[in-house]
Symmetry: C2
Amino acid sequence: MQNHQAFIDAARDVIGHAHVLTSDLDMYAQDWRKKYFGRPLAVLRPASTAEVAALVRLCMVHAVAIVPQGGNTGLCGASVPDASGEQVVLNLGRLNGVRSVDPANNTMTVEAGCILQTLQETAESVDRLFPLSLGAEGSCQIGGNISTNAGGVQVLRYGNTRDLVLGLEVVLPSGEILDLLRGLRKDNTGYDLKQIFIGAEGTLGIITAATLKLFPAPKASAVAFAALSSPAQAVNLLQQMRAELGERFTAFELMSDASVDLIRRHFPASPNPFAARHSWYVLMEATDGGTDAALGGLFEGALERVLEQGLIEDVALASSKAQAGELWMMRENVAEAQQIDSPNIKHDISLPISSIPEFIDEVVGTLEQTYPGVRPIIFGHLGDGNLHFNMARPLALDNARWLEQTQAVNTIVHDAVVRHRGSISAEHGIGQLKQAEMAHYKSAAELLVMRAIKRAIDPQLLMNPGKVVDMGSKS
Amino acid sequence: MQNHQAFIDAARDVIGHAHVLTSDLDMYAQDWRKKYFGRPLAVLRPASTAEVAALVRLCMVHAVAIVPQGGNTGLCGASVPDASGEQVVLNLGRLNGVRSVDPANNTMTVEAGCILQTLQETAESVDRLFPLSLGAEGSCQIGGNISTNAGGVQVLRYGNTRDLVLGLEVVLPSGEILDLLRGLRKDNTGYDLKQIFIGAEGTLGIITAATLKLFPAPKASAVAFAALSSPAQAVNLLQQMRAELGERFTAFELMSDASVDLIRRHFPASPNPFAARHSWYVLMEATDGGTDAALGGLFEGALERVLEQGLIEDVALASSKAQAGELWMMRENVAEAQQIDSPNIKHDISLPISSIPEFIDEVVGTLEQTYPGVRPIIFGHLGDGNLHFNMARPLALDNARWLEQTQAVNTIVHDAVVRHRGSISAEHGIGQLKQAEMAHYKSAAELLVMRAIKRAIDPQLLMNPGKVVDMGSKS
């Protein structure tokens, strides 16, 4: 304890008394969904990269473990400390400046604590698009997005966060500042070090700033909602539409009938464009630099052809921004509809797109056999091979009994994912939630290389211990 | 020597007598341009990943250094052994199977020794595009392309090789096989290990296979050649054209008047669409999934607007595939024209696109002052910020006297590149050519992390020693 006090005093000397918090820590000690709880030794809120570096050096000297924290909106508990009372939370929220915006280079350099939505607006203000977009964009921070390699709804066209990062500034576990803030599309001078920090969930260092890619702002968009008989039809549809519209596609979202049914039950004002009920639905969006009329014509032509070819059962093309917004709202309400309805057993998986029809048939079959009446709330970014493969309880079971099956259902789903060479965490990461599962499914060689890198960069094992890769007993 | 014989005998036991070469090694001991020479202990030509793994284990036991080699077309000497006679060349040319092609997933899984052009054709055969394209495509191998993170002429739209790789199979320096062959667009399960092997030039392990991204095959293309007064105009033009045509742009190639003049002198049949001579030229290409007529109309409309706005001085739109081919041929003849003319002092640099006008003004000014009559043969992928910034001798100097200035000219150019936060090796890599220069320009922190990773993955320092990052005395 004496030691801790000395550490806290030293931290206060570095960043000021007001920014080293030791009481009322609840908002820093748990994630926004309140699924993970911890007990931090203190919460440090530096306002500059130099302050971060000084704090990290201090932590190393005092052998205090560091949990980097952004908006705390992650879904796997990576930004929550453990219960030991020995870990500090290093919250990046005050390090939130936009250092520069360079429209001619299509880049901006920003600090880790910037809110994602603010950065989208910064890009808009110079007639550019920063395409990262996800549910938590009003409160998540770009440092966290980069540390978890966030996905979202525009990956099909613009890639994951990794693809949007040209440069990084990182405070290493040694306290040294690694300046990789380059705004270059091509740079083959040695190992591309930024790649190891992206998606490392704060276990290799603290991302303090980034140079991000901007894109021409799209001027036109078109949205359609199609009804299909099977996931196989959806895969064919995706191919055909991409062949016609190329990289204009920004979204291709699959929804099972059970998920659409759930949305309509809890959001009765949701649009219902089809007379008949269908087994599967796809929400599609394309954007373009031209006019709405030109893009709409192209989109409509392609949809007519797939309807004639029997690739879809029915289709509705949004005829206004308002209609497009309603269709998107339906997709965005899935998560809340599940929340209201009953707790689902959830999976964030990805698969080779060609394997998805067989995977769904096989796994839904097994689950329906094992749990008669189970409701597959399957939806997600089919264009990226990413499904939120969630299972709502059979109505005959109560919530508690259903959640007791979590491990058993996870095993059925994840075993099948691995057989089909998919991923058990497509976009949410590992954090504390999936550390053991990752260790179970990865090869010994892969875990060995991860541990070798962790040890090489963070030899004291003080960066976000207990997250991502298990390094043994050190807490 | 006894030791060497034991090693060679053991290698022959593993892959057969015929595939362990110890004489007539010239084609493996030097690169295709014959700029780098070495003396290999032997050349090993395995035909399977298992054979590669067995050979690597053998090399580790015998402490024999390994130089991985693909098509040997690299420009920085990464695939050439040193002169010690102690290093083996591990040539991947026989490991050249296409393991699978999955058009519905838009992927193919191929072995390291596949020739790039063969893979372009494999993609075409299923109506897909594999967009990596560069001068050496008829002989370079995909393993080498990945190990050097090759660039080429379509980076603007499709990215560098790194962006085209979804999965990798790597034989680690331990001889273990690291199977990261996933065909997934999203996978956030721990550190993205493939990233450290891409662009590592064989210093961390041997890439034996990869899962690569395919794209919808474009159906339409449009090519134009524009005349401009300055690089600043070219940067404005790029912005304007991308705003109108979005991601349809596949190429935006800048050429200085001196480079076009050089081409015309040595290839007199080159097209000459403009009556007047201009200071700068840009070759542009857009592709699309629709019709040539629709894309041509869009392209022509955009060009008319930039002409009216005075963003260009003149423009010629290719009216046929043949005309488009002639314009491209001109761009592709730059390298050979330089070869015929006289040896240039060359630089493969990248810069933030917004800095390019100032950079060119400043550096050409300095060089013209220092070397009156110097001819700036500047051309390259402006859309990626990548310039081949080459200097042909002042006509008053002979070749030998000019080449004596290489180090001095390099220093002027590279110092300025670093001041403008650019890269001294945009797409060619480091190899043996730029190892010392990289060490000179990188920060201590960056070199430290590179060395830490090298040591963590290759503790015996036997993978392609003397390339990329200097590890000290070990050869």
